[in-house]
């Protein structure tokens, strides 16, 4: 009886499905990072010792408004929001008198959602309170009760050890 050794087989992993999955992940994170970048426009935030990093479940449906010092008016402020123009997220500057209408429109869009809408106010530390008050007044008119102020988390002050105290 003749013995036939098996033919050598070249084994290669089929990486095509893995590439497909990774491409999907890249597209997801690319879009997510663009949205995150858009919401986290560099702002000179005030410092607060009691500020804490938000839990992911606390951030739910939200509308973010950046209140920045106006470039051309030392006493003015720009209200910057992110808006979808059909192709991409773009910055939109709102006049102060349009802030309430914008918030009301956003609140109406999620009116059926039981969780409601949060308003995240990212205001520059040097702007006058009156400009932030415009947004607070708009939240009241739009019945957005949950308002979140962005702040820098202050680093904890180093406490001296007990034996070092005088």
């Amino acid at each position: 009886m003749a013995f036939h050794p098996p033919k050598p087989v070249s084994m290669t992993l089929n990486l095509a499905p893995m590439v497909d999955v990774m491409m999907c992940l890249i597209i997801f994170f690319l879009l997510a990072s663009r949205i995150v970048d858009a919401e986290h426009r560099p702002v000179n935030l005030p410092v607060a010792r009691s500020a804490r990093e938000p839990e992911p479940e606390e951030m739910g449906r939200r509308v973010t408004i950046n209140v920045l010092p106006a470039a051309d008016d030392p006493l003015g402020a720009d209200y910057v929001v992110q808006a979808w123009n059909g192709r991409a997220l773009v910055e939109r500057r709102l006049p102060a008198e349009d802030v309430a209408a914008y918030l009301q429109a956003r609140a109406r869009a999620v009116a059926d959602d039981a969780g409601g809408l949060r308003c995240i106010i990212r205001a520059d530390r040097e702007v006058a309170y009156g400009h932030v008050e415009v947004v607070l007044r708009g939240c009241g008119l739009a019945r957005i009760s949950h308002v979140v102020f962005a702040a820098q988390v202050a680093k904890p002050v180093a406490q001296p050890h007990a034996e070092e105290r005088p």
């Binding site: 990486l15 590439v19 970048d37 010792r49 309170y129 009156g130 932030v132 702040a151």
Partner: protein, 155 residues
Amino acid sequence: MNYEFPEAVSERIPNLAPMVDVIMVILIFFILGASLQLTREGVLQTQLDPRSGPSEGTPVNIVPAVKIALEQAGPDDCNIYVMGEPLAGNSFDSLALYLDQRRQAGADTQNPVVIAAQAGVRWKHVIAAMDASVRAGFTNVQFAVSLAGGTPRTP
């Protein structure tokens, strides 16, 4: 003369390993980029009074545990008043100390602390007042908002 046929097209599989390497690096870059952005800043939260809104028509009267007033004093400073009286020390650490004493004296920390600031007061001072309240244990911080529209034109 021997003629060798070329290898069948179906058997020529491109080597995807370098592509996977590159995609992996890009993926890690985006994951880290997104997560670093998300955890960079903190928040202070408040719940506006549910009675506020467009249909009420009348101002909401809140009975505060403590009322803090911030008055503009120069371009980069403010005066602090508590329950209508100037705060000794006029600093936000003094305010936190005062509120802590109020809490220890039995003040209900669920009652609202109302911050009423003049329109020209810097936002950092308002946040400092809110920060002092939260640090002292008063987490229900409300803001007195004027019903008149408009934006501040005074420095």
